[in-house]
């Protein structure tokens, strides 16, 4: 059966680089830390144990050499050698945690123990003892279940058996084995502490590694995202500028193509109007004058559009100088006063007289504000109002600037059109070119400002121009 590539089979396929790295590296580092901990703690335990047994065995042998003769291990009369073994025992148990010893002769019989009941017994099935007779020090953990340890159960839990072979003087023969019981509790506690320390170090190291790698990858990922965003922005700017260039060419061609005929139409019409004065029939003259006046008017309209289009594609190099925005606004509103009157729209000013001057190109700002005011006026029905305000934004903040707001009481702009109103050639007006608002935006942005659109407080549209104070 073919496996589909579903979200379940590849749960991280669509996750971000950081998330994927976070998960994968966490798993890897966790495994690595666990393996590291296991290996180090195992080696440490083995080393500690080996050293421990070796030291104990050396100590036992040294004591045997000091206190005992080889014959003591072969004596048939256990009672006769018992005092010497007792002496040995007293010395040996001076070693920390050593609790009991058993002395075996070569036949595997216990010839002395601090537990009297064991003397004379033998345990042939004791594999560790047999191994010790082979000449090796043998260690056996958890030995309590063994038959020979019948008397070590109960109070002496957690013992380790250590079988130390005892050699003859020439070191060629094994004459007996001393089995020492060591309480492992303290010792294993030491080991456990060491293991815990290793675990903490391993976990700490793993965590440090994880955090460091994660931080590096996250930084790299951010950088990549930033670069991608920049690339996209550059691409879209490139596309926009190419489109602009194409529009520019078209506009220049249109201007050239229709400019000359328009000149002719206009000149002829003007000449005809001059002729009208010479006509005898007054009615005819009036009619002709009316029509010709219309021709001139239409030509001027086409001319206006053409200029608008050309202005749009013309590179706008701002020539900034300190500008008082309040005065500029007042001038523009004064220019439009008659149009406001004709439309039956009132204009309210809420200007903050304390705003500082801004450094912008006065001509650019004038055109932008004229466009915005004219738009607001056109959007407002008879009886409505346009409110114009100025103010300082974030007076104490770093992005200190001057704001201009123009709010109308029209129908507002539907949300779906909002993103598009600044696009060139987008219009909802029956006779609009769609150039006005995008040109306004361009004028403002070229002067370092920003133009934004939002809902007006009375249902209309609020346009806001923000100009930074540099």
């Amino acid at each position: 059966m073919k496996l589909e590539k579903t979200g379940l089979s590849r749960p991280l396929a669509n996750a971000s680089l950081t998330t994927r790295f976070g998960v994968y590296s966490f798993v890897c580092i966790a495994i690595m830390t666990a393996v590291l901990w296991y290996i180090v703690s195992r080696n440490l335990t083995t080393d500690m144990l080996d050293r421990e047994w070796e030291t104990t065995a050396k100590f036992v042998r040294a004591e045997v050499e000091w206190h005992m003769n080889p014959e003591d291990f072969t004596a048939q009369d256990f009672g006769a050698v018992a005092p010497k073994f007792e002496q040995l025992h007293r010395q040996i148990i001076m070693m920390p945690d050593l609790v009991r010893i058993k002395v075996y002769n070569r036949q595997g019989m216990i010839i002395w123990s601090d537990e009297d009941r064991l003397i004379g017994t033998s345990f042939p099935d004791n594999a560790e003892l047999q191994e010790a007779f082979g000449g090796r020090i043998v260690v056996h953990m958890s030995p309590i279940a063994k038959g020979e340890n019948i008397y070590e159960r109960g109070p002496l839990n957690g013992l380790v058996e250590l079988y130390v072979p005892i050699f003859s003087a020439d070191k060629k023969k094994i004459i007996g084995v001393i089995e020492a019981y060591k309480s492992s509790d303290n010792f294993f506690k030491d080991i456990e502490r060491a293991r815990t320390a290793v675990l903490i170090v391993a976990l700490g190291g793993g965590l440090l590694l994880y955090v460091a790698l994660f931080a590096v990858v996250r930084q790299a990922s951010r950088k990549i995202s930033e670069q991608q965003a920049n690339l996209l922005k550059m691409q879209s700017e490139l596309v926009a500028s190419q489109r602009m260039a194409a529009v520019g060419e078209t506009a220049a061609a249109v201007a050239h193509g229709i400019g000359n005929p328009l000149s002719s139409i206009r000149a002829t019409a003007q000449l005809s109007m001059l002729d009208c004065g010479d006509q005898n029939g007054r009615d005819l003259a009036e009619k002709m004058q009316f029509n010709l006046q219309n021709i001139i008017h239409q030509v001027d309209r086409v001319q206006g559009r053409m200029h608008e289009l050309l202005n749009f594609v013309k590179p706008l190099e701002p020539h900034p100088s300190p500008v008082d925005l309040n005065s500029l606004l007042r001038e523009q509103i004064e220019t439009l006063r008659s149009r406001f009157g004709e439309a039956g729209v009132s204009c309210h000013l809420r200007l903050d007289e304390k705003i500082p001057k801004v450094r912008v190109d006065p001509n650019h700002l004038e055109q932008a504000l004229a466009g915005l005011l004219s738009n607001a006026l056109e959007a407002t029905p008879r009886g409505g109002s346009v409110t114009v305000g100025t103010g300082v934004s974030s007076p104490s903040g770093r992005s200190r600037g001057v704001n201009i707001s123009i709010e109308d009481t029209g129908e507002g702009i539907p949300i779906e059109n909002r993103a598009r109103v600044f696009e060139p050639f987008f219009t909802t007006k029956p006779h609009g070119t769609g150039v006005g608002l995008s040109l306004t935006k361009k004028f403002i942005e070229r002067n370092g400002g920003m133009l934004s659109i939002s809902d007006g407080s009375n249902g209309g549209t609020r346009m806001e121009v923000a100009i930074p104070l540099t």
């Binding site: 400019g259 000359n260 000149s263 206009r266 000149a267 002829t268 000449l271 001027d300 200029h307």
Partner: protein, 125 residues
């Protein structure tokens, strides 16, 4: 004294209309449809004022203006441009044009500029 105005534009209907309009307002006008033709006219019978289109076939308006100013610096020239790019106007003024006017030309406005130009001829330079 009737002032002589030379109108130079390859748009024949327009050039004729301009000539006619100025004629009716008391000027003597000559109409040429190319820069080369205009330069010949100037050599034969220099006008007081030239109304010159910026965009002409073969020899463009600025080149014609340059030639006029080289040979006859006293002849006044009004340039006409189809649309304002800023550059052309600056260039024309640098080369010594009296003024410039945008197309489609308001003949009345053109006449006023022409009058103003002609007025300067009465004053000592």
């Amino acid at each position: 004294m009737t002032r002589r105005i030379l109108v130079v534009d390859d748009e024949r209907v327009f050039a004729t209309a301009v000539g006619e309009y100025l004629n009716r307002h008391g000027y003597s006008t000559v109409i040429n449809y190319s820069g080369e033709q205009a330069l010949r006219t100037i050599e034969e019978e220099p006008p007081d004022l030239v109304v010159l289109d910026y965009c002409l076939p073969q020899m463009d308006g600025l080149s014609v203006l340059r030639k006029i100013k080289e040979g006859h610096p006293k002849i006044l020239v009004i340039m006409m441009t189809a649309y304002g790019t800023g550059q052309a106007e600056v260039e024309a003024m640098k080369l010594g044009a009296f003024d410039y006017i945008y197309k489609p030309v308001d003949l009345h406005a053109l006449r006023l500029v022409a009058e103003k130009a002609v007025d300067t001829l009465y004053k000592p330079r």
